[in-house]
Symmetry: C2
Subunit: 611 residues, 2 copies
C-alpha cells in the first residue's frame, strides 16, 4: 500500500504516530516559510504541514491542484483546530514527500459549487466524479443498492441473472439490436426489461426472484431519460396483489430507514387510478399537499363510476358561457390565500397555462373574498349565486382563488395537474425532505394508440385484467371504428391488476399480477391485434411455458436511477449515474456511438444505409 | 398468498395446524382407496394424503405431474416416516384442493437423473430449471454472489455501475456492436469488460470499486464459452501487487467458507509464470498433485532464467537420436507406479498423444523397473547409462514410467501438460472436493500474434511492464523481422506486473497493476503498433484522464460463471447460468438471434449484406 491510513482516518488519539498518506492536493497555502496542504481522498481531507526545509523544496518541485502525492510524517495536534472536519484537530508534520503523478490544471474547479458547465463536466466526467456533491450521490446509490439486496434477501428473494442478448419483440418502445456475426442476417435485442424471464423463473419454481439490472430502450430521449437505465426487478409466485403491496412498501420503508434514517411509520396511502385522475388530474399525484381539483364537467364515457357525483355540478346543464359549454372537460382548483392576488399575478398565471408545454387557451378565475363576496373574470355569464354554487362544488373557502380550465379531456386534466403542482411549488407545499408514498391501483388495462388507431397494453401484455372484466375483453372486437370516440369503446373501461408506487409525485415503481394461463394470454395478444403466428413467433416460449404448470404470480419493477435521485433530493437521474449519456444518447466523454471499421461491418453481414 | 406455509417448512411441532400449501405435483401414488401426492416447491417436498372421498374426486379431476395445486388441510404425523426428507415426519390430511393450473406431460422427467438430452433441456430450459440439480447450481451461484458482495463491502469496496453502451475499441476479441438510431451510421459496442471505466473511477478517487457485471465477447465459441458472461470486476488505488494478492485470496477464502464451509487455512502458493511453464508446461497448473515435468531440451531464447539448469541435461549435446536432436523441445514426465504398464497400455497412451487435440508424433517411454534396471523404446540410441542419466534428470524413482515428448516448443509443452492432467485424472489425483489455490505471477507482457505478425498485449494494453524492463519496451522496435524467430525478439522476455489466480488447474481470475502515466501508456500503444491518431481515437478519454492526477492502481477480474462451476464440482459453466446459449451463440428456448423487420433496419440506417 502507498499509505498506512486514509485521509479521513486520523484523530487526536493518533498523535505522535508515524504515518504515510496518499491522495490528491486540494489546496496549497503558503504562510511565510511554511506551507499547508489539504490532502484529499475518498475518505476525507487531512491537513499537511510542510516545514521550512520542505517549503524550500516545494519551490523547485511545486505541488499543483490535483497532484497525486505520497507523504510520510508524524501526526501532531493543530493549534488552529477546524472542528468542521473530522480530522480537523490534527495535522501531519511532513518528513518527506513523493509526487506520484502531476496534474494539468483541471478545466473546472473540483468543488461542490463548480464553475464547470454541463457539457464540460460530462466530457471530463472523471473529474466531475471527484466533486463531493457527485461522490455523495454515487455513495447514496450504493447505499440504496445495499439496502435493497439486504431486504430482499431477508425476504427469501434470490438474485438470478437473466440474459442481455435476447430476441427482439418490440411492444411499445423500440429495441436496441445487436447483429450476430455467427448467425448472418440475424439480430439479438437488448432487453427492455427481464419481464418474460422473470415470469419463466416463476414457472420454474424459483418463487421469489430479484435483480438490480440494466435495461435498454431506444426511445427519443425526453429531458430525463437514459437509453440504458437500471431497474430493481422483482417477481413472486403464489401471490395476490395485496402480498405484493405489503412486500414492496416494506422494501421502500427499509430503504428509507437504512439510507435516510427515516422511520416511515404511517400507512402507505392507496388510491384507485380513477380517484387519482379525478382528484388530482394525474395518475401519480403528489400527496404531500391537498388542493384536490373539482370536476365541473367531463365526457360521459370516462370515469363511469363518477357520473353520479357530476349531477351536482353547476355546469351539469348549459351555462350560456360558450367556453365552458363547448369544452369536453371543465376542471377547477381552489388556491388557499390567493383571493388577494393582483391582476398582474393572475395575468402571470394565465400566461403560464398558455405556454406551449401546458397548452391551454386561457384561465377563468373566481375570487372568493374573505368577506364572502365573489368576483370573477366571467361575471358576464355567471351571477353571484352561480359563482357561489361553483365555489361550493369546488369546496372553496373564503380567501381562496378558484382557477378554472376548460378544453379537451386529456389536455385539460394534465393542465390542471401541472397547475396544481406549480401552485404547490409556489406555496412551498412540496417540501424536499418530506417523503410521501402512495399506491395507485386498478390502472386501465389498455391505452389508446393514436398513431396506429389501436389498443396497446398500458403496462405490458402480460398484465392480467380484473377477473370480472375478462369477458369484456374477450367478447368485444378490439377494432376502433371511430378514432375520435375511442373512449366509448368497452376496452377503455377495462381495469387491470396493476399498481404503481408513487413517491412525491414521481412514479418510482410499477407492476402487476400476471396472466398465467396460456389461453388468456393468447386472447390478450389477440386483443392487441397480434396474429396467432406473430404471437407464436415472438412469445412462443412463454406460451409454451404456460402449458407446463405455471403458478399464479406477479411482480414489480422500480426505477433505480429515479429512486436514488428522489432520495438524494434531485429531479435529475443523470446526477446519480456514474457515466450517463446526454439527450442525444451520446457519451461525450467516450465520444460514443462512433463509426466502426468496414471490416467489422462486413463480418457482421451488414452495411450502412444512410439517406 | 396462496399458501400459509411452504412445502419445506412443516415439522412434527406443527401437528394439528390448519395449513394451506401450494406447489407442483411431483408424484401421485394411489393405494387402494387413498392417494398420496408429493407436493413440491422451491423449499422442499411435503406429502399430501387424500382420503377416500377426495380420492374419488381425483378420479374425475385427476392430478397430473407438474400440475399446480393449492390444498387446505391439517398437519398430521406420518405412520411411515421418511427421515431423508426434512418434512418426512408429517403429512397433510387434505380437506380440499384447487387445481390452479394444469400441465401437459413434460418432454423429459423433472428429476436429477433426467431422460432429457441437452438440446431438449435447453429448449425447455424453464422445465430444466425445475430439476433439483440445476436449482442447487443456481442457488450456489446466488450464495457466491452474496459472499462476494459481503466481503468486498466489508473491505470498503463500492459497487458502481458502468455503462453497457460504449465505444468499439477491439483489441483482441471482437466487440458486439449496437447500431444507433439517433446517430445514423454510428454504433455503440457492448463492453468486453469495464476495464477503462474502473480505471477512470480510480482516477476519480473512488479508491475501491467492484461490480458483478455482464461482459460480452463476440468470439467463435469454444466448448465452454458464452458470448455473454459474468465477471467479478475489482479495482483498487494506491496499491502494489502484494496488496491485491492478499485482498483477493481473502475473497476466495471467504467464499470457500461461506459457500462450502471450507476453512482454507493454508498459505496460497505462488509461482512465477516461468516456473509454471517450466515445471508443469502450462500457466495454470493443477497443483493438487506433483508430477513436475523435466525439460531435457528447450530453445535457447526462451526461459532465459533456466538456461543454467539445462546444462545438466543429458540432451545438452547431440544424442544421435534424430527425433530428439531435431526437436525444438524435449520434455519428460515420470508416472508413479507405471513401470509395470503393459505394451497395450503404452500403445493406448501413444494413441492418446497422437490425437489431433494433442497432436504429437509419438511418445518415447523408459521403464524404470523396481529392481533399478531400465528399459526403453529407444534402446537403440541410448545405453543404460544414458537412460539412467535421463531418469536422474527427470527425478524418476524405481517403479516409475518416464514418458518423453519431442517437438516444437509451444505444442510440446502444451502436450506434456495435457498428458500430465490426463495421467493425474487416471491415477485419481484430481479430487473433486479438494481445492488448491495458486497465484501465477510475472506473466509475459506481450504475446505473439501469428496472423498479424505483431505483438499483442497478453493481458491488455493497460498492464504495466516490470519497472526494470520498461527500457526494453521503449528502446526496441516492435517490428518482428523474422516471424519464425519471434521468440528471439526482446519483447518476448518482457514480464508484466500481472497475476492470475488458479484453482485446480483453472484460471478463475486475472489482473494487473496498471499503467497510470500518460507517457508510458502512449508508449505501450505504440509498442502494440497503434498510431498516435488511433490511440487518441480509441482511448483519448483515458489518456486525457491520466493528465489530471491518476493514482497508482491495479485490479483483478474473476470469471464468475467458472468460479461457480468449479465450486459446484462441474467443468461446465452452462450448468450454472439460468439461461445459457449454445455453442453457436443461440438461445434455443427463445430462438434468438432472429431476423428483424425491414422497418427496424431502415430506422437504424443499415441493411443486410448477405453473401
Amino acid at each position: 500500500m502507498f499509505r498506512t491510513h486514509t485521509c479521513g482516518q486520523l484523530r487526536l488519539q493518533d498523535i505522535a504516530t508515524e504515518v504515510t498518506l496518499a491522495g490528491w492536493v486540494q489546496t496549497v497555502r503558503k504562510f511565510g516559510s511554511i506551507t499547508f496542504v489539504d490532502l484529499r481522498d475518498r475518505y476525507g481531507i487531512t491537513q499537511l504541514l510542510f516545514g521550512e526545509e520542505l517549503t524550500i523544496q516545494l519551490d523547485t518541485t511545486p505541488l499543483g491542484r490535483e497532484f497525486v502525492v505520497q507523504v510520510k510524517g508524524t501526526v501532531v495536534e493543530r493549534s488552529n483546530k477546524n472542528l468542521a472536519l473530522p480530522t480537523g484537530e490534527i495535522e501531519i508534520a511532513v518528513g518527506s514527500f513523493t509526487i506520484l503523478n502531476s496534474s494539468a490544471v483541471p478545466p473546472f474547479t473540483i468543488q461542490d459549487d463548480t464553475d464547470g458547465g454541463d457539457d464540460l463536466r460530462m466530457r471530463y466526467r472523471y473529474l466531475d466524479l471527484r466533486r463531493g456533491v457527485v461522490k455523495r450521490n454515487i455513495e447514496l446509490r450504493y447505499a440504496v443498492n445495499r439496502a435493497t439486496r439486504e431486504y430482499l434477501h431477508l425476504q427469501g428473494f434470490m438474485d438470478i441473472e437473466t440474459p442481455f442478448l435476447i430476441k427482439s419483440t418490440p411492444e411499445g418502445a423500440r429495441d436496441f439490436v445487436v447483429p450476430s456475426r455467427m448467425n448472418a442476417g440475424q439480430f439479438y435485442a437488448l432487453p427492455q426489461s427481464p419481464q418474460t424471464f422473470k415470469q419463466l423463473l416463476m414457472v420454474s419454481g424459483y418463487d421469489r426472484y430479484y435483480q438490480i439490472v440494466k435495461c435498454f430502450r431506444d426511445e427519443d430521449l425526453r429531458a430525463d431519460r437514459q437509453p440504458e437505465f437500471t431497474q430493481i426487478d422483482c417477481e413472486m409466485a403464489f401471490v395476490e396483489q395485496e402480498d405484493i403491496l405489503t412486500m414492496f412498501e416494506g422494501l421502500i420503508k427499509f430503504i428509507f430507514k437504512q439510507v435516510k434514517g427515516i422511520d416511515y411509520a404511517e400507512t402507505v396511502e392507496r388510491m384507485t387510478w380513477e380517484d387519482a385522475m379525478w382528484n388530482y388530474g394525474i395518475d401519480k399525484p403528489d400527496i404531500r399537499f391537498g388542493m384536490k381539483v373539482a370536476n365541473l364537467k367531463v365526457p360521459s364515457t370516462v370515469y363511469v363510476d363518477k357520473q353520479d357525483s357530476l349531477k351536482a355540478s353547476p355546469l351539469a346543464e348549459t351555462s350560456g358561457f360558450g367556453v365552458f359549454d363547448n369544452a369536453e372537460t371543465v376542471i377547477a382548483i381552489s388556491v388557499p390565500g390567493a383571493a388577494e392576488y393582483t391582476r398582474k399575478q393572475i395575468d402571470e398565471l394565465t400566461d403560464w397555462v398558455k405556454r406551449p408545454q401546458v397548452g391551454m387557451q386561457g384561465l377563468v378565475n373566481i375570487k372568493y373574498n374573505a368577506d364572502g363576496t365573489l368576483k370573477s373574470s366571467v361575471d358576464k355569464f355567471f351571477n353571484e349565486e352561480k359563482l357561489k354554487a361553483i365555489a361550493a362544488y369546488a369546496d372553496a373557502k373564503p380567501g381562496e382563488l378558484i382557477l378554472i380550465l376548460a378544453g379537451a379531456e386529456e389536455r385539460t386534466r394534465k393542465a390542471i395537474s401541472d397547475l396544481r403542482l406549480e401552485l404547490g411549488e409556489r406555496l412551498g407545499l412540496r417540501k424536499k425532505e418530506e417523503f410521501k408514498l402512495l399506491w395507485v391501483l386498478d390502472f386501465p388495462l389498455f391505452e389508446y394508440d393514436e398513431e396506429g388507431n389501436r389498443w396497446v397494453a398500458r403496462h405490458h401484455p402480460f398484465t392480467s385484467p380484473k377477473p370480472t372484466q375478462i369477458s369484456d375483453m374477450i367478447n368485444n372486437n378490439p377494432l376502433i371504428e371511430n378514432a375520435s370516440e375511442y373512449l366509448k369503446h368497452p376496452y377503455a373501461n377495462i381495469k387491470a391488476n396493476a399498481y404503481d408506487m408513487v413517491l412525491n409525485g414521481n412514479e418510482i415503481g410499477g407492476g402487476s399480477i400476471r396472466i398465467f394461463q396460456r389461453e388468456l394470454q393468447e386472447k390478450m395478444f389477440a386483443a392487441l391485434g397480434m396474429s396467432k403466428e406473430e404471437a407464436q413467433h415472438k412469445f412462443g416460449f412463454l406460451l409454451g411455458a404456460f402449458e407446463y404448470g405455471a403458478p399464479p404470480h406477479g411482480g414489480i419493477a422500480f426505477g433505480f436511477d429515479r429512486l436514488c435521485a428522489i432520495l438524494g433530493g434531485s429531479e435529475s437521474i443523470r446526477d446519480f449515474i456514474a457515466f450517463p449519456k446526454n439527450n442525444s444518447g451520446r457519451d461525450v466523454m467516450l465520444d460514443a456511438p462512433a463509426s466502426i471499421d468496414d471490416k467489422q461491418l462486413e463480418e457482421l453481414s451488414i452495411k450502412l444505409d444512410l439517406k
